[in-house]
Symmetry: C2
Subunit: 402 residues, 2 copies
């Protein structure tokens, strides 16, 4: 591999969509479309065969001796105010692997594919993993195409406008890769704090996302005495604090309220409605279900105390998944051959790898995230750590290709 080529491609392309507040490369927006065009352009310089499926996933392949495929993938979309590394690093590293295989000129045993999945983040279109969900058969087309962003633009519309609408026959579920490997930043503080260079996830924790709406009564802030109020924001605030305190009291649980929308959101009106999301994660499905049920009861109790109505609904669940022992072993072997300090762990974030377990033997490779920060402009992994991950990825592909 060519370290300088990788670093210069990575740093120049991930600046597309960078702003003072972070990366704004939301799925299929102007910035995302621009980096996609760049990716396709570079793939064409190495004569890769580029296919698009009907989720807009980009699949660039170098034909090997056999049609059996080893796929490398991740995503280039970001959350709003996101970081430069999340997802993007994995696609750029895969691109370098393909470039250097082409450069060596030696035909691999397997066909090698690089995949950029559409709308991994779920920031523009909810839920997340829409591209990998459609291509692996988890979601159906009607569901995926009807997802809407905040401006009421459907996924289908955005995909058509982007120029990346492809063909249903190119879905991975009809062309299953034998292996799928995803290289990613940890997005947590463990590897850095404990001094490891590489993390080897055993799988991905489960996730359930709920939406809660607290409904009170708007009124003018001045003339309504404090003891007559039905303030939806006070109820929501008590709930948000309770969620954090509850999750902090459990070992194997994380719970986050990430979205809060207040109506009417005027300084001198008592809030009448607050909608919020609750994200619950654990390695054990049973613990997620227990937490959801206990937090719903807490919300009801708070609504009662504050004379509010409460509504909630379950948005989606991703069950915990385990990765392939064969791929995990290959990653471990690669780390040992390269003298990398590695640690087995879990991924607490969702990844396209999750749905790829339905159709392929899957593994992931993590590199340290400085201070554990992700989904923020401060997200950072050093060039050295990125090159370590790239070396491990290249070695894993070599081992799986034997």
């Amino acid at each position: 591999m060519d370290a300088n080529r990788f670093l210069s491609t990575f740093h120049s392309l991930t600046n597309i969509g960078w702003t003072e507040e972070g990366v704004m490369r939301l799925a299929l927006n102007t910035y995302d479309v621009k980096v996609r065009q760049e990716l396709v352009r570079i793939l064409s310089t190495i004569n890769a065969n580029v296919n698009l499926d009907d989720a807009g996933n980009i699949i660039g392949s170098l034909k090997g001796k056999s049609d059996e495929t080893i796929a490398i993938g991740s995503h280039m979309d970001s959350v709003p105010y996101g970081g430069k590394y999340d997802g993007f690093y994995g696609v750029m590293a895969g691109l370098e692997v393909l470039r250097s295989v082409r450069e060596k000129g030696k035909l691999p045993n397997h066909t090698l594919s690089l995949i950029d999945f559409t709308n991994e983040e779920g920031a523009r279109f909810q839920p997340s993993l829409l591209g990998s969900g459609l291509t692996t058969g988890v979601f159906n087309k009607d569901y995926v195409y009807s997802r809407k962003d905040n401006d009421n633009i459907t996924f289908e519309r955005a995909l058509m406008d982007s120029g990346f609408m492809g063909d249903e026959k190119n879905r991975l579920v009809y062309n299953k890769p034998k292996y799928y490997v995803e290289l990613h930043i940890e997005q947590g503080p463990i590897l850095e704090e404990e001094g490891y260079q590489i993390g080897i996830p055993m799988g991905i924790v489960g996730l359930s996302v709920y939406e809660f709406t607290f409904i009170g009564q708007a009124s003018q802030a001045g003339p309504t005495p404090m003891n007559r109020r039905k303030d939806a924001l006070v109820g929501a605030s008590k709930f948000i604090t309770s969620v954090r305190d509850y999750a902090r009291s459990k070992d194997n649980l994380r719970a986050t309220v990430g979205i809060v929308n207040v109506k009417p959101n005027v300084y001198n009106a008592i809030p009448r409605e607050v909608r919020l999301t609750l994200d619950i994660r654990s390695t054990e499905k049973s613990e997620i279900d227990k937490a959801a049920s206990e937090l719903i009861n807490m919300a009801k109790k708070i609504a009662d105390e504050e004379k509010l109505e409460i509504r909630y609904n379950h948005l989606w669940t991703a069950n915990p998944v385990g990765f392939s022992d064969e791929v995990i072993n290959a990653i471990q072997k690669a780390c040992e051959e390269l003298n990398m300090r590695y640690k087995f762990m879990y991924s607490w974030a969702g990844h396209d790898a999750q749905y790829m377990t339905r159709i392929s033997r899957v593994g992931m490779i993590f590199i340290p995230s400085h201070l554990g920060i992700s989904h923020a402009k401060e997200e950072f992994s050093s060039d050295e750590d990125m090159l370590n991950g790239l070396r491990v990825l290249e070695k894993v592909i070599e081992l799986l290709d034997r």
Copy 2:
């Protein structure tokens, strides 16, 4: 006065801007412009002299025997998802007074003016009372014109586009009305609960508005362990609950967090920044100042506990004002002559009357608000209550005109 003419004008015009979620007649938006055009059209049918000042305030006058003026006023803009009565009632009642004076054909001693003040609510352009503030000399033109709405449109731009840009020489501060009377809904539950038909405010309580920003660290919701988080939303939530509990423990204080904006506002990212507004009111300035200082300390303590940064700044203050004894006495006398059950009280909401005390002898008349609800689609006052208020207003003008 003509009760049916008043009611039919009121109900048909306040429907301009009505939606299923409430009135959306924000200052100088399409709906506000449309009702303004209707108001000017009706004023022209009674040959009123219509002037605009450089805040877009509409001043329609019927010349009397003298140039000394009795003004009646309020506003036609609404908060988002607002009610049909707030402000609009006062303008429509004043219009009926002018119509019936013109109809009687008897020249009053004083010139009678009707004023529609621009951007009373402060919902589109903050702060509130921009129109009355400029016309009475509280605010200067640069300040008022540079206020921006959420789409970054300045007040000046919106005013020019509306067609209601008028002349600085028409400001009320250069043409001071001797008296100013404003008829308004109570926006609180007291009159209805205690069985009064009319409220006579002695003055308007004071108000201070602050903005607080809690700043933490965004990160991916999954991989960041609960005890390493700097969650700006948890800090803000603890503060919001504390504000309510604090105000509830005081007799003569109201405090409201009305606006909350979260960044990045994504379900799977720990919130890094929450901006919120705090509205503090009391009849006593000293109590507002004390509450502000104690709540700022609470915010600092919470930020400390949650490892957050905190910023706050004072947005604006309106000191408590007292109304003119002469006008209050006239309102009391009118109520007695009309056999209305009336109550002396305070206005806990700001009104254009507040700034009019700088240049005129001012009084207000309140009618009951059903359930005390205002700034919401459920805002309601009966036709009977509205007619009672209109009768008192007409009588007060007659008494002041003697």
